[in-house]
């Protein structure tokens, strides 16, 4: 009986509880990533996975008696900044893709062999002049 109580207490300590929560978030994000096709949702799913990783890291760092591990916290801080950078870039890409194709969904399957490939080394191609030009991209609705 005493042993059971100890196990429960051990399990409910933040050093184990939060890592478990992190693992659940990681799995949840993975589930969402597979299930949802909208790219914004996929990006959210990846962010949730990332938060799961950070939760495991911080939870693990908070185990034990003393103050939490500052290295783990520093790593998490770095990780959060990396995550926001990647998210910002991903969102910019999604907007660009939507402008070109008309939807923010990843096209399934291998690349279309007939899809024209623009070649930036040729004369006729010039730097993207802005929305007016790019909105004329071809439509590849599924």
């Amino acid at each position: 009986m005493n042993g059971l109580a100890e196990t429960v207490a051990h399990t409910l300590a933040p050093g184990l509880l939060y890592p478990t929560g992190g693992a659940i978030l990681f799995a949840l994000g993975l589930y969402g990533l597979i299930r949802r096709h909208h790219l914004v949702l996929r990006i959210l799913a990846l962010n949730i996975m990332g938060s799961g990783v950070f939760m495991v890291l911080l939870g693990v760092a908070a185990r034990g008696e003393g103050p939490p591990d500052p290295v783990a916290q520093a790593l998490t801080l770095t990780g959060i900044v990396v995550a926001v950078s990647a998210t910002a870039f991903a969102l910019a890409l999604v907007v660009h893709l939507t402008r070109l194709t008309g939807h923010a969904v990843m096209l399934p399957g291998p690349p279309d062999d007939d899809a024209p490939v623009e070649d930036i080394s040729r004369e006729e191609h010039h730097a993207d002049g802005g929305p007016a030009e790019s909105s004329a991209g071809e439509d590849r609705s599924a």
């Binding site: 933040p14 659940i24 909208h38 801080l77 900044v81 402008r99």
Partner: protein, 331 residues
């Protein structure tokens, strides 16, 4: 006391997981994004509970705040693109009788999501289960806390996290700054920036509030930066706060972006990495190793790097919000 805390932990975790679940299960993008911001705020609470106030600060400012702003402006951009395509007339004002969300819903998945249910569920369960098993079997490790503690007196700062970030593992931090910069370079390479799809808010309320809030934000940012050497805070949190202020300014005048001219802007966004690198090279030349400091110089150098980094991060975050490269960059 302990039981209460456990209860708090359980409720908080349940809330976090629940919000994450609702966010991912949402059929409405706007709702998902709002739930995600909530998720970030709850996470910040969890970080406080895990004795990580620095991370909580960063999560609230960066994870929830900046990410939230980026997500919302993305939704708005998607909406306006869809509206343009619908109307077939570029740059026409979006038709709005049905409200923004019908269109967003139209963006939705043409693919049969139901087919992925079982594989996704089993896969996630297996991964999660294995992870939990591994975590529960982990012995308690000492970690690096004692090592960091033993070196605090030679680190030049009093706050262990700042010591790790800017001294012991300065290389990581340098690369982190680089990643922020690369994300911006990537976004800029996609094309020039659009108009931000927000209409200027009429009336004096917003400008008036901003006149109050922006100075406060600047002061707060500087304070957080300065505090970082001995207490929770530092360049990233400060940069995020200043960046948020910048985003507010951008939003207040979406039609005339208060962007700096190209040359100074480029210098500004790369100032953090450039200065960091110079200091690192100095360390290499002076025999302290690449990215190393002489003990006596550690504090001023760290502060110098942090100031530059804060400015660069703030500027970069605003630029990421605007997304495309400024027109001046091409001339």
């Amino acid at each position: 006391m302990n039981a209460l805390l456990v209860l708090f932990d359980l409720v908080l975790l349940a809330g976090i997981v629940g919000v994450a679940w609702r966010c991912l299960a949402s059929t409405d993008l706007f709702r998902a994004v709002v739930l995600f911001i909530t998720f970030g705020l709850l996470l910040a609470l969890a970080w406080v509970r895990l004795e990580a106030p620095d991370i909580a600060l960063a999560e609230a400012a960066i994870g929830a705040g900046i990410t939230g702003a980026l997500l919302l402006v993305t939704l708005e951009r998607l909406r306006s693109i869809m509206a343009e395509r619908r109307s077939g007339r570029p740059h026409s004002p979006p038709p709005d009788p049905t409200g923004p969300h019908a269109l967003l819903r139209a963006l939705h998945d043409p693919l049969p999501e139901h087919r992925t249910f079982l594989p996704a569920l089993s896969f996630a369960l297996v991964v999660g289960g294995l992870l939990v098993t591994a975590l529960w079997h982990q012995p308690q490790s000492v970690g690096l806390e004692p090592v960091v503690d033993a070196h605090m007196d030679v680190s030049g700062v009093d706050h262990p996290i700042t010591a790790v970030l800017l001294n012991f593992r300065a290389y990581d931090t340098f690369l982190e700054l680089a990643i922020v910069l690369i994300a911006l370079l990537g976004a800029w390479s996609l094309g020039r920036h659009d108009l931000i799809p927000a209409r200027p808010a009429p009336g004096p309320i917003l400008p008036g509030t901003l006149r109050l809030l922006v100075p406060v934000a600047v002061v707060t940012g500087v304070y957080v930066l300065w505090a970082g050497s001995h207490a929770p805070g530092g360049a990233f949190q400060a940069g995020a706060i200043l960046g948020a202020a910048g985003i507010l300014l951008v939003l207040a005048r979406p039609r005339q972006l208060p962007m700096a001219p190209a040359g100074p802007l480029r210098l500004g966004i790369s100032a953090g990495v450039a200065l960091f690198l110079l200091v690192g090279l100095y360390g290499l030349a002076a025999g302290h190793g690449f990215l190393g400091y002489a003990e006596a110089w550690a504090y001023p150098l760290i502060i110098l790097i942090e100031v530059a980094a804060t400015l660069s991060i703030a500027l970069t975050l605003v630029a990421l919000f605007v997304a495309g490269r400024p027109a001046g960059d091409d001339t």
